[in-house]
Amino acid sequence: MPGDPIALLARSQRLSPEALELQRVAFGLDQPLITQFGVYVRETISGNLGVSLISGLPVWELILSRMWPTLLLVGIGTILAAGIGVLAGIRGGWRRGSRFDSGSLYTSMVLYSTPEGWLGMLLLILFAGLLGWFPAGGYSSSTSSGTTDVAMHLALPVLALALGYVGQFLIVMRSSMMEVKAQPYIDLARAKGLTDPDVRRRHAVPNAILPIFTLVVISVGFILGGAIVIETVFSWPGIGLLTYEAIQTLDYPVLQGVFLISSAAVIFASLVADVTYGLLDPRVGAT
């Protein structure tokens, strides 16, 4: 990234050249890059993610303070997107060509290709601005922070996130359902006299849902990365917003900490997906 974070402090904190140099030494930025990297690896292994260049607070503390709002927003939004997408994909894939299938497919594709920030702004203007049904941003009201209050603040950002991501789950689930529906065992199930809903529920969905399972688990892994755009639009104090602020101020320790946490979460989620996939699908488990 362009820019020297210490030089940025020269203007904002009126640091003299001598004070700038002291800051550079304090953060180890006067050392060769390879030495800096070695220190970074050593400290990270020992659990020390360093301190923010701007606030001076430990990076761990900053990330932890934003963890819960992130889990709330991205967690609920992802679950909602996955739930709606899977259900709609099941129905659309089972009744391919129906009005529901066409409508849901096109709608989700439009939503998926819509920029999140723009979608969020539309919801904000409509529901918070014109209608006044929801607050305009933040985690809670100034004088109240009960569950219901937080829920009302959470509603619009969750909706924006869910609408933006529902398309990916719907398309994958739909495609998987169509593939499974063409399998011979589905015909056999019907031949046995099972009703259509039973065939779908007991034979098609369990097989079709395997690919989507991986997608859902990986998406859960991305939760800890936050949702930068959505959090910025709705002033939601999550890790995404922390990342945005750190990018603006070139707060490298915070950025490194966030990238480390979110990368680890995705890797762990991938591992969980690999392990549990074998448990869910005996064919994969046997090999």
Partner: protein
């Protein structure tokens, strides 16, 4: 067909109805207005660390200003020095000693007496720990004596203007920070500080990172008791959302608005906008080279005639209208207008006009003839006048200003390659000198010394925009820094400003107003500092927060004619604080929710009945 399907559909619809009624009932009152005891202020920059020693962002400065006192403060009138914790300060004959007397009965928020020892401790602490924001006010070798609890003596090894400046240093309690003597700055900045201990009207008691910061009224404040029990800063990272929050009544004041939103804000009923006199300025700085051996700025820009022609070719008023929607004034001198005492207003008949014809004439006379492509050529070097001009995206209006300047200069045969870049990239360019001119901004202190000093030769490679080196200017700045006579210093400061205006190392394009909007039906009596078009929120003083009070309803019709803060108490504003404004949106009436629920129930019933006819039909493929 399962009998549970229609029942489950009805259950879903019933839940939707319940939720709708609940939401409708909730939404109509939960955040429509502040309560009468709390003043909520929307901000666009957060407080990363509430610790005074980690102060950095504008909101952090506001938080510190709201909680702490200086020994002598910036006056509410014109930001000159005036009594605060000290009721008086006197200097000796040669300005090497300042003796200040504290007010009687001062206390910290925890009830501990505030004495001269706290003042002496604070000054020694900032010097010993090297907190650069604060140390520049004290000549090296300064010492502090406390002959009694109310007297502090500042001894300086050299004459100093001292308390006339005044030192922008907030006094902190020794009984809290004394334990940190000798600690590293890292440890000091990580100290837990809440609930805070300070002497100002409000004390921070709660900080929700990235969200809100709550200040409670200080029961031991030495000044007038504020009307509000509590002040809350709320962070909005989206300006449009903050405007909506103001409209909904979620916040009473929206601070730091962008000028692009001004028309939308001004259209909101019961909202007044304070266009604050600029404490910053946007400049087009020229590069004279010397930052780095590889720096290669356009040599023609070292020619004063070329720079004068560029000034003549730029329509600053048009930049004010198009880049700032009128929420700015054309720039002139390098000391910001908010420093009312020091700022030099160039007389109208001496202001460089917008005159591209004269600009062309100057360049023609200087020998910069146009090439076949219309671009003028430097007669000394043969180089075409092509200016690489990055514009910093942390400077509002810079992108539009850059485009306008490119079009203006094309009329006088100068090509401009304007390129928006990040602030980080700007620092790289400033240090490397790899540009010809750039658009950035400056802000500064009420005292002009810092602002004047950044144009001196010694700042080349440090803070200087383009390494302009001029011995006459350096001398002027040095003289004003050492002059103790206030009138003489004022003359020198103004002469320095005039000199920069005439020599054009940088063109001050505009003085953008800071914008604060507030609900006249929720809050009244916000005192601007400095007087007139000053800040309503704590920037240089907490006076506005002390004088603020919930607006009282006396005449409903008066809400339509609510006036801005300056010159008007706002006492005739609309509704009683705590009740929704009659014109604010607060959710649809509950009966509408009932109708919506009936429609949903009806739709569900239709869908269920239609599905009964298709459910058992076998699928064929």
């Amino acid at each position: 067909m399962s009998v549970h399907r229609p029942l489950s559909a009805v259950a879903i619809a019933a839940a939707a109805l319940s939720g709708a009624v609940f939401v409708g009932g909730w939404g109509s009152s939960a955040w429509a207005a502040d309560d009468a005891t709390t003043l909520t202020i929307g901000m666009t920059v957060g407080i990363d660390n509430p610790n005074i020693w980690a102060v950095n962002s504008t909101s952090e400065w506001s938080a510190v200003t709201l909680q702490y006192d200086m020994l002598m403060k910036f006056s509410d009138e014109d930001l000159s020095a005036s009594p605060s914790l000290a009721e008086s300060c006197e200097h000796n004959a040669d300005y090497t000693a300042w003796t200040c007397t504290l007010r009687e009965g001062l206390k910290w928020s925890d009830g501990t007496p505030l004495t001269s020892r706290d003042v002496a401790f604070t000054y020694r602490f900032v010097i010993d720990q090297g907190f650069s924001y604060f140390t520049s006010y004290f000549p090296k070798g300064s010492t502090f004596e406390t002959p009694d609890d109310r007297t502090i003596v500042w001894n300086s090894p050299e004459p100093t203007r001292g308390m006339d400046v005044p030192p922008w240093v907030y006094i902190v309690p020794e009984h809290v920070w004394g334990a940190y003597i000798g600690k590293t700055n890292k440890e000091i900045k990580q100290a837990a500080v809440l609930p805070n201990v300070a002497s100002g009207p409000y004390i921070m008691t709660e900080a929700v990172p990235g969200q809100s910061w709550t200040f409670e009224r200080n029961p031991n404040f030495w000044g007038t008791e504020p009307a509000y029990e509590r002040i809350v800063f709320r962070l909005y990272t989206n300006q449009e959302a903050m405007v909506q929050a103001l409209k909904n009544g979620e916040i009473a004041i929206a601070d730091g608005l962008e000028s692009a939103l001004l028309p939308a804000v001004e259209a909101i009923p019961n909202v007044a906008v304070q266009k604050i006199t600029a404490d910053s300025w946007v400049n087009l700085a020229f590069n004279f080279g010397g930052q780095d051996p590889a720096a290669n700025p356009l040599p023609a820009l070292k020619d004063l005639r070329v720079r004068q022609a560029i000034v003549l070719a730029i329509d600053k008023q048009a930049i004010v209208e198009k880049a700032y929607q009128g929420a700015a004034s054309p720039g002139e001198t390098i000391v910001r207008p908010l420093s009312v005492y020091w700022h030099l207003d160039i007389p109208d008949d001496q202001v460089t006009p917008y005159d591209p014809d004269q600009a062309n004439a100057i360049l023609d006379e200087a020998g910069y003839t146009r090439g076949g492509d219309g671009i003028r050529v430097d007669p000394q070097t043969g180089q075409p006048l092509v200016i690489r001009m990055p514009t910093s995206n942390d400077t509002p209006g810079s992108d539009i200003a850059g485009q306008l300047i490119a079009s203006y200069l094309s009329q006088i045969g100068i090509e401009v390659k304007a390129q928006p870049v990040s602030a980080g990239k700007m620092y790289d360019l400033q240090q490397s000198g790899n540009f010809d001119a750039y658009i950035w901004y400056w802000t500064g202190d009420p005292d002009p010394n810092y602002q004047l000093s950044v144009f001196t030769s010694e700042q080349c490679g440090d803070l200087s925009d383009g390494c302009w080196r001029d011995a006459t200017y350096d001398d002027l700045v040095a003289q004003q820094a050492s002059t103790l006579d206030q009138d003489e210093r004022l003359r020198l400061v103004r002469e320095a400003q005039q000199y920069v205006y005439d020599q054009v190392p940088s063109i001050v394009l505009a003085y953008p107003n800071s914008l604060t909007a507030y609900r006249t039906d929720i809050v009244a009596d916000l005192t601007p500092v400095p007087a007139g078009d000053g800040y309503l929120t704590p920037s240089y003083s907490y006076t506005g927060m002390v004088s603020a009070r919930p607006a009282q309803l006396t005449d409903p019709a008066a809400s339509a004619s609510a006036q801005p803060a300056s010159g008007d108490s706002g006492g005739d504003a609309a509704t009683t604080a705590g009740e929704p404004s009659s014109t604010s949106t607060s959710g649809p009436p509950v009966w509408l929710w009932g109708i919506a629920a009936l429609i949903i129930l009806g739709g569900v019933a239709v869908i269920v009945m239609r599905r009964r006819g298709t459910e058992d039909r076998p699928d064929t493929h």
